[in-house]
Symmetry: C2
Subunit: 460 residues, 2 copies
């Protein structure tokens, strides 16, 4: 590589424009291979991936096949799982095997797991790199969301008995396949993980030094069976760029790098938001109209069913309503206050369940505190409701008292339900974020209407 002082230095990230995309599409359709290759050489792999999202399946296949295998493999890895599955339908098993051959083993396994079982077996059979085939076979046994499923087999390990000179030799041997290294792992003869040495230390080490003299034995590792969330928590808590994965005996099996965990964190945050907003599939704005329609229907109709129950409940008080129609004025107040309080309460618990630092609070302590908070909020909201409803309908003090009492009860009840629901869901290993979603909110609403109408019935 030549010094490039004279070349302009690209600082701003590439932005995909319609004009650029059309240029590439035209080049593909007219098979102007040199032009395409020259253009793609200017881009980072992640930018080429973004172009793929905008191309037709056959166009995308043509483009990727023009490129170097390693580059193609990286581009394919960057695709979202769903899109990749669709995209690879245009590829033969032989073509896919060429990419799987050069990928990091964790990315290779992701691709294989997305394929039907017979095709993925074909691909493994077609792999030229027999070490990769062995890696992949090993990794496919682990649950996708466990540390074993997230790890890659590529890492540099050195024996504690070696000298620094031998160690550098070892790095030279192992380094070709391993990217993003800042440390090498130190193991004993049985491959038991003992610690790590940073590359910085190796560079700065004295000539005659031995690994045993300079290695750092403070090392955090995770077991293959650890859940993805646990790995993410550990890496965040200890600010790790990579974490070694060991089996139950402590034998070093692989490592998980931070970039895979960042993706994991982002995905789980998105899942929580989707659970909270009642969208049932992992959809994006540019999905098909029908897919978008379908993803919303379950909770949309589910919520409506809840409201029919509410309607049925209010139906029972028809006589009361025809006598005092003003009762109906405050139905929205009851419903939305209950809903808001429930969502607020559950979101605090969800957040606190996700945060594992500190001492676990016992259920009774937790509920006691929630009830205290709820009690004060309920009193303030109740007083507010009294005066607010008086302004809306000044003729009816008795109704204002009723509304005020109902709001007091609804805030208490919704806080309690909003706290308990995510805790119960969590016990059963269900994502507690759905407690802030429409189904539970609707249930809370129903309870609220019941309380309101009952108090109206008793008092008026």
């Amino acid at each position: 590589m030549e010094p490039t002082n004279q070349q302009p230095f690209e600082l701003t990230p590439f932005e995909l424009t319609k004009e650029y995309l059309e240029k590439i599409q035209t080049a593909i359709n007219q098979q102007e291979n040199d032009l395409i290759i020259a253009e793609m050489e200017e881009l980072y792999p992640a930018d080429i991936t973004n172009i793929l999202y905008e191309l037709e399946g056959e166009e995308a296949h043509y483009l990727v096949r023009l490129l170097d295998k390693k580059l193609g493999a990286e581009i394919i890895t960057n695709l979202d799982a769903d899109d990749r599955k669709k995209f690879l339908k245009n590829f033969t098993a032989m073509e896919i095997a060429e990419y799987v051959d050069v990928l990091d083993s964790d990315d290779a396994v992701d691709i294989l797991n997305e394929q039907p079982k017979d095709i993925s077996e074909d691909i493994i059979g077609l792999l030229k790199d027999r070490e990769q085939a062995r890696f992949v076979n090993d990794l496919m046994h682990y649950d996708e969301d466990s540390a074993g499923g997230l790890m890659q087999k590529e890492l540099i390990k050195i024996n504690i008995k070696q000298s620094i000179t031998e160690c550098i030799e070892e790095i030279r041997r192992q380094a070709e396949d391993v990217e993003n290294v800042s440390s090498v792992y130190v193991v004993d003869d049985e491959s038991i993980l003992l610690g790590r040495v940073s590359l910085k230390k190796i560079i700065l080490a004295k000539r005659g030094a031995r690994v045993a003299d300079i290695y750092d034995e403070n090392i955090v590792s995770v077991k293959t069976t650890a859940k993805g969330e646990e790995v993410a928590d550990v890496m965040q808590k200890y600010d790790l760029e990579a974490v070694p994965v060991v089996n139950i005996q402590g034998r070093l099996l692989g490592r998980i790098t931070i970039d895979d965990v960042v993706d994991f964190i982002t995905e789980s945050a998105q899942e929580d938001v989707q659970a909270m907003t009642g969208i049932s599939e992992d959809v994006e704005e540019d999905d098909s109209v029908w897919r978008l329609v379908r993803s919303r229907l379950p909770w949309l109709l589910g919520g409506m069913v809840g409201s029919f129950f509410a309607a049925r409940l209010i139906h029972n008080f028809e006589d009361l309503l025809s006598k005092i129609p003003a009762v109906a004025f405050f139905i929205p107040l009851i419903g939305s206050t209950g809903g808001n309080v429930g969502v607020q309460s559950s979101s605090i618990i969800v957040q606190s369940l996700a945060d594992k630092s500190g001492i676990d609070i016992s259920l009774s302590e937790r509920l006691l505190k929630v009830l205290k908070v709820a009690f004060f909020n309920a009193i303030i909201a109740g007083i507010f409701a009294f005066f607010g409803s008086l302004i809306v309908d000044s003729a009816n003090v008795q109704l204002s008292i009723t509304v005020s009492l109902s709001i007091f009860s609804v805030v208490l009840l919704a806080s309690f339900m909003g706290t308990l629901t995510p805790l119960v869901l969590n016990k059963f290993d269900i994502n507690p974020a759905i407690a802030s979603g429409p189904f539970i909110t609707t249930t809370n609403d129903l309870l609220g209407y019941g309380v309101y109408l009952l108090i109206v019935y008793l008092l008026m």
Copy 2:
């Protein structure tokens, strides 16, 4: 350091128990310094931070002051901003300066920015490390959420004219303060960033090699003015462990490491969830009862104000209600369906605004697509509402037609509002996630009731 084959190897992360905490508290109160130091030596800094959260201010101060400065500094850095501010109230400016002296410059600036201006100036004046004082003064000019505010000044840079041997010398000189290095940055005589060399390459380079021969000129950098979100996006997209920060001339000023960005990503996800759930301060379950009460009141009472408007609106139709009380049965259906649809629509837009890959969709294309999706959902929900309301109140086909038409209109309207609101908020640089929050939901509800009662009034 000695080889430690014989020592048990700690695989599982530390868990804080009540018993352990009591032991530490007793030791602090009885000033058993040796015991405390011995116990803390067994732990990682992040675990000691977790203990601090559970101690009283004076206890925590005592504990940290016993420890080595570097360790103490790391523990303090791990604290949440709010807690750190409270925690450091027990420290003198001189004590704080001792920690600021040994911190990475980005972490040092965080701490200084949390202090009142006069105290932070005192601290800077008390710093022993004059280079650090200069770093900190430089960094304090940048906006906290910009790349300049996130970056640290500590990095290793080498001149492109150097040889690998000189480069290793340079690393030796610069490396003491710089942790987590996997690359060094290559610059020209004017400190203009030209590229990078991985430590792996340096280790593997031939003796006589020059930096210019082996460096990698493909390097992504960000400008000091880039927003935190942009930095996070770039690092995620290109899978970077660290990104160099340059000024407008391309001069290398600092670097941002992935761990700071992971924290940034997690925080923004939490902010979004809080915006969506209507909790107005950054509270956690273990905050004081009063703080928890206060954080919920704004949206709780704000939502109630919205419902009073709804009550006032329904009030106008009192005569209608006393004639046909069944109209009241479906008020919850209208409100909650409008709310659910609005939240679903806005969350899809919020997600799509956050995801910057691909071609930007024009506003008209976007709205057209939303309207298509809304139209199908509205038809299905409308038909569902017709039959549902018929089951609730079979005597009243005319009312069922009215409810069905209203639901059709409400779904259309709420989809439209739910799409437009986050787009408008985003234009004005307000977090679009609040569009899924209670205030906007309440506004949607109001619109829904208006449409419903108007249709009832016109048709019945």
